[in-house]
């Protein structure tokens, strides 16, 4: 595909001379009287368009289709010619839309029949069109700038479509000669300019428009090379719908378009809302959407029919009512913008509105064998409708070996959920063109560097990591990968570390994998050593990022468990730390809740840790802890003594019962009585005492 083919630039030259004001002599009744009101009323005379109106609306239709299918890179320069030249827009991309052209055309208005025909000519327009074709477009400029010393690869080609009313074949030849001469002149001029380019190839399409009922004075002529630069063709067409047909055919030829008719579209009847009839809608799009039909010579089998215009063929595809709205990734070999042929007919607008609302429609290719093949899909993206070509032939990739049979396929404990979370965090979003960061990096480079930072230490399987299985590490792990840290972030990281220190002091179990090792796995202090090492590994990979990152590492190095001789020294500072820890813990708990735990496994880990934390809180032997509850003499042998972890080994039964009790206690609200009980005995009618002014706090425990 060539970017700078003839269709890159199209100059429309429309004749605005007095004779274009003539009627096309096709009458349109716009006074459609309803039966009940028609009595006694004389209907208004029908209206008829002028040649000018016909030319304008057909050329606008040409532009409408062109802009629908090619919103960029195919440019139109619209020129109106009478006694002078009116250039209605430029090659600039921002000028390329029909609204602006319509406004400019309104300013020009219809031709003035009283103007002196002698001083009016379409020649002015043709000369202007050639001059305009020499002007460089922003795309040509961009390509030339990018190519530097091979800038001469950027070609300058274009097409002039001239809508006029010619006098005779001689007149046509005169117009052609004029274009050829102007090209030669302009090319000389352009050779010496930076903003101009000589025309290498120009196609002149002369459309002679004449009123219905007249005999044409100009004969049709096939495309003919007038010189190595200029080719020309002449179409002699009656105004009105014939002209519309002609320009529709031309836009298809000029821009490689093809037509598809969607058939069997169910649509509610306007009059009878509960009945539905089937409609057809014809769409235009790039002809590559039919490539499979064209190549296989299947065009006719695919239900294509010749249309009234004679030249045009359309492929019929059948609507398949969409069943679900599920998002699916179809194997799609092409997607082409469409433009409805009859844009504001009811069936067309029903179809386009349906699609613009976000539904996709699969299209079925009728086959002679009667088998059903889905070959295309209509879908809108951001307010543009595309015809997607779906692959309907056998795939060369069928029956591949499953990923579980290849490398790494036998590993079962991948951190799938964690990586899913990672992917969500690394989703992309568009940034405005001006958005470059301080280092001048494009957003996509920032995305890559974020991925790099976040994967410096990223174990792929659960059994390879301890820290990523621990809720307690999450705040630090999330922050340390950032490009910059605030003081507050550093504080959060430090708190995380202190929290770990605290866990270690309490000998909380760690979620260390026992895979591959026999028995219980490593001992507790060994577990913590592994955990600290891993945490250090993680933080070390980010140490170079900033001084604050370094501070986090420093904190870890300072706090992590040291060989026994250092243990003593550390103990001294411990009490103060404990206090700090407590106040911090409140904050931490809420943080943990905010973090969306994603896997059942992780939840388990988290709950276990919390359990153990709360367990520890009860039996904490710091001076702040409340007096032991069971100071009272035992009345009976206790079945369910609170666990006393600190005093030697606990039996398996106790461990188990505690676990079950704790699990159960989460499922219901504890009885007020049991909560305030002492050794499973609760005092009844306490409020009576209260009312009597007696001290209920005798156990040193507050009632709720």
């Amino acid at each position: 595909m060539r970017m700078f083919s003839v269709s890159h630039k199209t100059a429309f030259v429309v004749d605005h001379c007095p004779y274009m004001a003539e009627s096309c002599r096709q009458l349109i009744e716009c006074d459609m009287l309803t039966k009940s009101r028609s009595q006694g009323v004389i209907p208004l005379a029908p209206v008829s368009k002028s040649l000018w109106t016909c030319a304008i609306e057909c050329s606008m239709e040409y532009c409408r289709i062109l802009y629908d299918v090619y919103p960029t890179k195919k440019l139109v320069n619209y020129i109106v010619s009478d006694s002078e030249v009116h250039i209605l827009n430029s090659w600039k991309q921002e000028d390329q839309n029909t609204q602006e052209l319509m406004a400019a055309l309104a300013a020009v208005g219809p031709p003035n029949p009283r103007q002196d025909p002698e001083c009016c000519s379409v020649l002015h327009g043709l000369v202007a069109a050639v001059e305009s074709l020499c002007k460089i477009t922003e795309y040509q400029h961009e390509a030339r700038t990018a190519l530097m010393d091979t800038a001469d690869r950027v070609a300058n080609r274009g097409r002039i479509i001239c809508l006029t009313n010619a006098k005779s074949d001689t007149h046509v030849r005169m117009l052609e000669d004029c274009v050829l001469e102007t090209i030669q002149e302009q090319n000389k001029l352009a050779a010496g300019s930076d903003r101009l380019m000589p025309i290498q190839q120009c196609e002149l399409v002369l459309v002679h428009i004449y009123p219905q009922g007249d005999d044409t004075l100009v004969s049709d002529r096939q495309k003919k090379e007038l010189s190595s630069v200029l080719s020309s063709e002449v179409h002699s067409v009656r105004a009105g719908r014939y002209l519309a047909c002609k320009l529709n055919v031309l836009v298809q030829q000029h821009f490689d378009l093809a037509s598809t008719t969607i058939t069997n579209i169910p649509m509610k009847e306007e009059q009878h809302a509960n009945t539905s009839a089937n409609y057809d809608v014809e769409l235009l799009h790039h002809r590559d959407a039919h490539m499979e039909f064209i190549k296989s010579g299947d065009l006719h089998m695919a239900g294509s029919t010749s249309r009234d215009s004679g030249l045009k063929e359309t492929v019929t595809l059948k609507w398949c009512t969409p069943r679900t709205n599920s998002v699916e990734l179809h194997y799609c070999t092409g997607a082409y913008r469409i433009s409805p042929v009859d844009v504001n007919s009811r069936p067309s607008s029903c179809l386009t509105n349906f699609l613009l609302n976000g539904r996709s429609v699969l299209l079925e290719q009728p086959r002679k064998s009667g088998s059903k093949v889905i070959s295309h899909m209509l879908s809108s993206h951001g307010g543009e409708i595309f015809l997607h070509v779906l692959n309907s032939t056998r795939s060369t990739l069928e029956d591949p070996p499953s990923i579980s049979e290849g490398c790494g396929g036998r590993v079962t404990d991948y951190r799938i959920t964690d990586f899913g979370e990672f992917m969500r965090e690394n989703r992309l979003t568009p940034f405005p063109d001006s958005m470059v960061d301080a280092a001048g990096r494009a957003p996509v480079e920032r995305a890559k560097s974020q991925l790099e930072r976040q994967t410096r230490y990223w174990p792929m399987i659960i059994s390879q990591t301890t820290i990523f299985n621990m809720q307690a590490v999450v705040p630090l792990a999330n922050l340390i990968v950032n490009d910059t840290l605030t003081d507050e972030d550093v504080l959060t990281c430090q708190k995380t570390v202190y929290n770990l220190v605290d866990m270690e002091r309490k000998s909380d179990p760690l979620p260390i994998s026992t895979v591959g090792s026999r028995g219980k796995g490593p001992k507790r202090d060994e577990q913590y050593r592994i955990m600290w090492n891993e945490l250090e590994t993680l933080v070390k990979t980010h140490v170079g990022t900033s001084e604050r990152h370094q501070r986090v590492l420093d904190c870890i190095s300072a706090c992590r468990s040291k060989p026994p001789e250092e243990e003593e020294r550390k103990k001294r500072g411990r009490k103060r730390e404990d206090k700090e820890d407590k106040t911090e813990k409140n904050g931490k708990d809420t943080e943990e809740k905010g973090w969306t735990a994603d896997s059942e496994r992780l939840k388990g880990v988290m709950e276990r840790e919390k359990d153990e934390q709360s367990e520890c809180e009860i039996i904490k032997d710091s001076p702040d802890s409340p007096e032991p509850l069971n100071k009272k003499p035992r009345l009976a042998t206790e079945e369910q003594q609170p666990p006393e972890k600190s005093k030697g080994p606990v039996s398996l039964l106790t461990l188990w019962t505690n676990r079950i009790t704790q699990a159960n206690s989460r499922k219901h609200q504890e009885f007020a009585g049991r909560l305030s009980s002492v050794n499973n005995k609760a005092e009844l009618y306490q409020h009576l005492k209260e009312e009597n002014g007696m001290d209920v706090h005798e156990n040193g425990k507050a009632t709720r």
Binding site: I65, T393, R427
Partner: protein, 519 residues
């Protein structure tokens, strides 16, 4: 890229090759030897390739339909019989049919033609075919170029000198030209022997069947992969940028996008991304090149058990319903996703987007895609309810903006009727009445269709006279006001005929202040 092996089994292939000493070979033996080598290579390094085997002489026969079972292909090769004369055109036509039946016309194929370069005599000879190539009727066209994208590799069991002595070489070159230059001719160097046939097929293997190995990267997470089929170079614009673009061997993930947001994008090609184990010497073990089966199995088992990033990525893409955007080279991107086979198998796949900085209009320029966390506000919403995609184009398409087209009379009539319908429901429909009126006015002015404005003005005036007694007094005022404004516009007076000007409802006592507010 499926392969068709087209084997010449004419009598000339049985010509003996003079080898000093030892046993005597036929050219056919050499051909079989070369193809055996090719099949063995494919079975180990390129085993996802579908290959079919066609033998031809004056007739052609599909001996093995497309398969990945290289034993079957080998067996057919070993049992090949000898037939009569060479008749290439019919065989090429056969290949064309076989491929189209199986894969359609969009799937690129490789055709490996093995021949001794004796291309037949008289009718049906290649010389005869080529001489008449321009005088064909529509349904008897020469089969080249194939209707599907193709590469034609011609393996000559002959050396170049031998071919140049006749017009064999010229004819074969012409064949490649007919196929749009897509393909290559291989000849044997030196004496015709096993060694030279090996070296010739070795070159073919390097050219067309060398596996594409790459490193898939997501930050610091990497995996060695084989991409199958090999991504082929593409030419973007033969004029401005004639250099073919190739996929680089470093596939770097840029970020992730939801399947719903990427929305069935058009792709150039699809490829399997198969993780491979590379040992320290740099040989691939995962694909199994070794002959020692025992060792191979154990290596494979080892590879299966060590974690691989591809498997992790595949699992998460599948679970999350996302794709990974991957950079294939400067200004070239693709996507990685999980593709489920009809059975319970699934795989990591890579699709290549069209070359360029903006392959999908609804994603915008890829270079402008950055991490969502950099945005001031989470573009996906706190509860994942939003999406920054699709990107809206600057201008709406015609079907989304209520354009006016009067090419068919019915279009014009509908628009006039709409105005009249609303005119009869004044003052309730004042707003829609003026909206439709202004739409018609704008179009009529742009098209220079002033006559229509006059006609509609007359219609409105008549409506005014036909108003029933029960009509709201405001209706008459609005109708005559609208009619008057249209008439003024049709005069072309720049004060009233300005395109941007809108006719506004008349302020009447009846509409009161409310009328003005409604506008």
């Amino acid at each position: 890229m499926p392969t068709v092996v087209l084997m010449d089994s004419s009598l000339s292939m049985t010509r003996p090759v003079s080898v000093e000493g030892s046993e005597e070979f036929q050219r056919k033996n050499l051909a079989v030897h070369g193809l055996t080598m090719l099949f063995e290579h494919m079975a180990t390094n390129y085993r996802m390739e579908f290959t079919s085997f066609v033998a031809f002489s004056s007739l052609w026969e599909l001996l093995v339909p497309f398969t990945r079972d290289y034993n079957t292909l080998q067996e057919a090769l070993n049992n090949l019989e000898d037939y009569d004369k060479t008749c290439l055109e019919a065989a090429l036509q056969g290949v064309s049919n076989i491929v189209q039946q199986e894969w359609g016309t969009s799937c690129p194929c490789q055709v490996v033609l093995v021949t001794d370069g004796a291309l037949g005599i008289g009718r049906g000879s290649l010389r005869h075919s080529l001489q008449t190539v321009k005088q064909r009727v529509e349904d008897k066209k020469f089969p080249l170029p194939f209707p599907f994208p193709s590469k034609l590799y011609i393996m000559c069991i002959a050396n170049a000198e031998e071919l140049q002595a006749t017009d064999g070489m010229d004819n074969l070159e012409q064949l490649i030209n007919l196929n749009g230059g897509e393909g290559q001719i291989y000849t044997m160097e030196g004496p015709l022997c096993l060694k030279s046939v090996q070296s010739m097929f070795g070159k073919l293997i390097d050219q067309a069947y060398s596996p594409f190995h790459a490193v898939l990267r997501c930050g610091n997470l990497t995996s060695d992969v084989q991409v199958f089929p090999r991504p082929e170079p593409v030419i973007i614009d033969e004029e401005v940028d004639p250099l073919p673009k190739t996929v680089q061997t470093d596939l770097e993930i840029v970020g992730f996008i939801e399947i719903g947001d990427i929305s069935s994008p058009p792709v150039l090609s699809r490829h399997l991304v198969l993780p491979i184990a590379v040992n320290k010497e740099g040989d691939e073990m995962g694909t199994g090149t070794s002959d020692e089966t025992e060792e191979e199995t154990s290596t494979n088992q080892m590879a299966g058990k060590s974690p691989n990033f591809c498997v992790l990525l595949h699992g998460s893409l599948k679970v999350e319903g996302m794709v990974a955007l991957v950079q294939l080279g400067p200004d070239w991107f693709g996507m990685l996703y999980s593709q489920a086979d009809s059975k319970k198998k699934s795989n990591l796949m890579m699709s290549l987007f069209e070359f360029g900085s903006e392959p999908l209009p609804w994603l915008g320029r890829i270079s402008q895609l950055g991490p969502a966390s950099d945005a001031a506000e989470n573009p996906y919403g706190e509860d994942d309810s939003k999406s920054p995609f699709p990107i809206q184009p600057k201008n709406k398409r015609s079907y989304a903006q209520n354009v006016t087209v009067w090419i068919k009379a019915s279009g014009l009539q509908t628009d006039v009727q709409k105005i009249l319908r609303n005119a009869r429901k004044l003052p309730e429909k004042t707003q829609t009445f003026y909206k439709e009126l202004n739409r018609l006015r704008k179009a009529a002015l742009a098209f220079g269709f002033w006559e229509l404005l006059k006609s509609v003005a007359e219609l409105l005036e008549r409506e005014c006279t036909l108003l029933p007694d029960s009509a709201h007094p405001d209706a008459a005022f609005q109708l005559s006001h609208a009619a008057q404004q249209l008439k003024l516009a049709s005069s072309g007076d720049s004060k009233y005929a300005a395109f941007e000007h809108n006719i506004t409802p008349m302020l009447t006592d009846f509409s009161g202040g409310g009328g003005a507010e409604r506008i």
